[in-house]
């Protein structure tokens, strides 16, 4: 579990960002000096359609408190339809893991374009606030089982 300087828990969130839109949106947020919580670890992927549901499950297993997948807006996919295909998978996965009993909000999805630096920051704020409300992840987390409560850093 990650603690801040005051000894308080800080959520750790993995963000899969598509190379063409959301990653560029994050870049824009940075170059525009827009403030957002430092809790996300960004993984750049070619397309939101590349994000296998297993990757999301693996993040939870390895101790991520939240997972965000962000891609191009519908119609804007660099590969024409990757985000449409992703949308179906994510709709099913989100319902499935919440049905299992994982808290709603642990896994979230967004569309952020390369021009939406402001929106990227807002999405990160929203996701971080929600995950903070939920507290540290414990369901599906394997590292805690392995290491006696101390989640390994990702």
């Amino acid at each position: 579990m990650k603690m801040n300087q005051e000894g308080e828990w800080e959520p750790k969130i993995v963000a899969f960002l598509c190379n063409w839109c959301s990653y560029a949106g994050a870049d824009l947020a940075g170059t525009s000096r827009i403030q957002y919580p430092p809790n996300v670890r960004v993984i750049r992927v070619p397309c939101s359609g590349r994000v296998d549901p297993l990757l999301i499950l693996k993040c939870l297993q390895r101790g991520a408190d939240g997972v965000l997948v962000s891609g191009c807006h519908p119609g804007d996919c660099h590969y024409i339809a990757g985000n449409y295909l992703a949308r179906r998978k994510f709709a099913m996965l989100k319902r499935l893991i919440e049905y299992l009993g994982v808290e709603e909000g642990r896994v979230q999805f967004s569309w952020v374009s390369a021009a939406e630096g402001e929106k990227f920051a807002d999405v990160i704020k929203t996701v971080t606030r929600r995950v903070r409300e939920l507290g540290p992840a414990r369901k599906l987390v394997k590292v805690r089982e392995m290491q006696g409560g101390a989640g390994a850093s990702l």
């Binding site: 390895r62 590292v143 392995m146 290491q147 390994a152 850093s153």
Partner: protein
């Protein structure tokens, strides 16, 4: 034959080491054990049964058949940590590796297993040949084995899947048990098989109501619930009857023990191509088998800390023999199915002098496609000897 040898004693030495207990006495007997030892017994778990620690007689499910999960898992758990390790890192450089061997569950010992079936008890003797042999001594296995006493319950009503009489055992087989409890009608006979078994019961006689040594069972002195007062000799006769009745329920002998010589020449026989076909390639048979003992060793690590685990594996999976090169010496289900049969009924005999099967029937019960090892053996037995060995 090991199984029948044990019971010959009933004709001769008679009552020594035998006690009698009323059926009502069972709960007191169990609670007496639980008060003294860590007791594992069959418990119900959502429609399945397994051996688990119990804290009162009420939790124990007096078995009518074998438990869904085999006794072996108390000795060879599905997964166990062999050692823990930590790699020291400083400034991005890999330093010392600290290794801490895991304690083989010694803290959990001693344990008493109640309610094993004779087939399961016998399976431990076969596992001993692998994990406690002159060639190899497995510390984890041996610690659990030495720390565990077995109280079996003889099978008065064998099930339709049972074929223990074909594998060297029997419904009243004593091999592998320290104590065996037999239902002989309206009372139980409790027979001490080993010294350890005697120690188990030492504190219970006179404490548990309705439980006494057979030698103290006097004429006309009936136990609660016992319809007719019976003399010790008559009880032993009732035991013989119960045993004969139970053995009669188990159908004809399956050619399990005698087939190893023939199998030696059958590796390339064309019959395997027919026999395996319906096999789905799952490991329900191997994992629920009380004698299948193959395992995999893997490291589970996160960052610089991890542990080495030993976990069940099965020859029915392609991964079992897959080489790093991509080559697989057992490429298909036929080869893998053949391996399982050959290992149990030929190689194990060659290596250890017995077959790796106790006739518990779990593989028959649980095979999704009704692959019945009894008919597989019968088919192998029926294949003409002339064609055996043809390539």
């Amino acid at each position: 034959m090991h199984g029948t040898a044990g019971l010959d004693r009933t004709g001769g030495p008679g009552v020594a080491g035998v006690s009698v207990m009323s059926k009502e006495g069972l709960a007191g007997f169990l609670n007496g054990l639980i008060a003294r030892f860590r007791v594992f017994a069959p418990v119900q778990e959502a429609g399945t049964t397994r051996f688990a620690p119990v804290s009162s007689a009420g939790e124990v499910m007096m078995p009518t058949t074998v438990t869904s999960r085999p006794l072996k898992e108390l000795f060879l758990p599905p997964s166990e940590t062999l050692l823990e390790f930590e790699v020291e890192t400083s400034g991005g450089m890999v330093g010392e590796v600290k290794v801490e061997p895991a304690e083989p569950g010694v803290g959990d010992m001693p344990r008493v297993v109640f309610g094993a079936r004779p087939c399961d008890a016998r399976s431990l003797l076969l596992l001993d040949k692998v994990f406690d042999s002159t060639d190899y001594k497995d510390g984890h296995y041996i610690a659990r084995r030495r720390g565990t006493a077995i109280i079996s319950v003889a099978c008065s009503e064998p099930a339709e899947i049972c074929f223990c009489t074909s594998t060297g055992g029997g419904p009243f087989d004593e091999a592998g048990s320290d104590v065996i409890l037999e239902d002989v009608g309206d009372v139980y006979l409790i027979k001490v098989i080993t010294e350890r078994g005697a120690g188990l019961l030492a504190g219970l006689e006179g404490v548990v109501p309705g439980f006494r040594r057979l030698s103290e069972q006097a004429e006309g002195d009936a136990l609660p619930g016992q319809l007719l007062p019976l003399l010790p000799e008559q009880l032993l006769a009732a035991e013989r009857n119960a045993k004969e009745r139970a053995e009669a329920v188990i159908p004809a002998l399956v050619p399990a023990r005698g087939i190893h010589e023939k199998l030696k020449g059958m590796f390339e026989h064309e019959c395997w191509g027919e026999l395996y076909r319906k096999c789905l390639g799952c490991a329900a048979c191997a994992y629920l088998c009380p004698t299948c003992h193959c395992f995999d060793i893997a490291d589970e690590a996160v960052d610089n800390k991890g542990r080495r685990v030993r976990c069940w594996d099965a020859c029915m999976f392609p991964m079992f023999t897959l080489h790093a090169s991509g080559h697989n010496p057992r490429p298909g289900r036929k080869e893998r199915f053949r391996q399982r049969v050959m290992h149990k009924f030929s190689y194990f005999m060659e290596n250890n002098g017995d077959i790796a099967c106790v006739g518990c029937g779990r593989c028959i019960e649980n095979c999704p496609v009704n692959m019945d090892i009894r008919s597989v053996l019968a088919s192998l037995d029926a294949v003409s000897a002339a064609s055996a060995g043809t390539v």
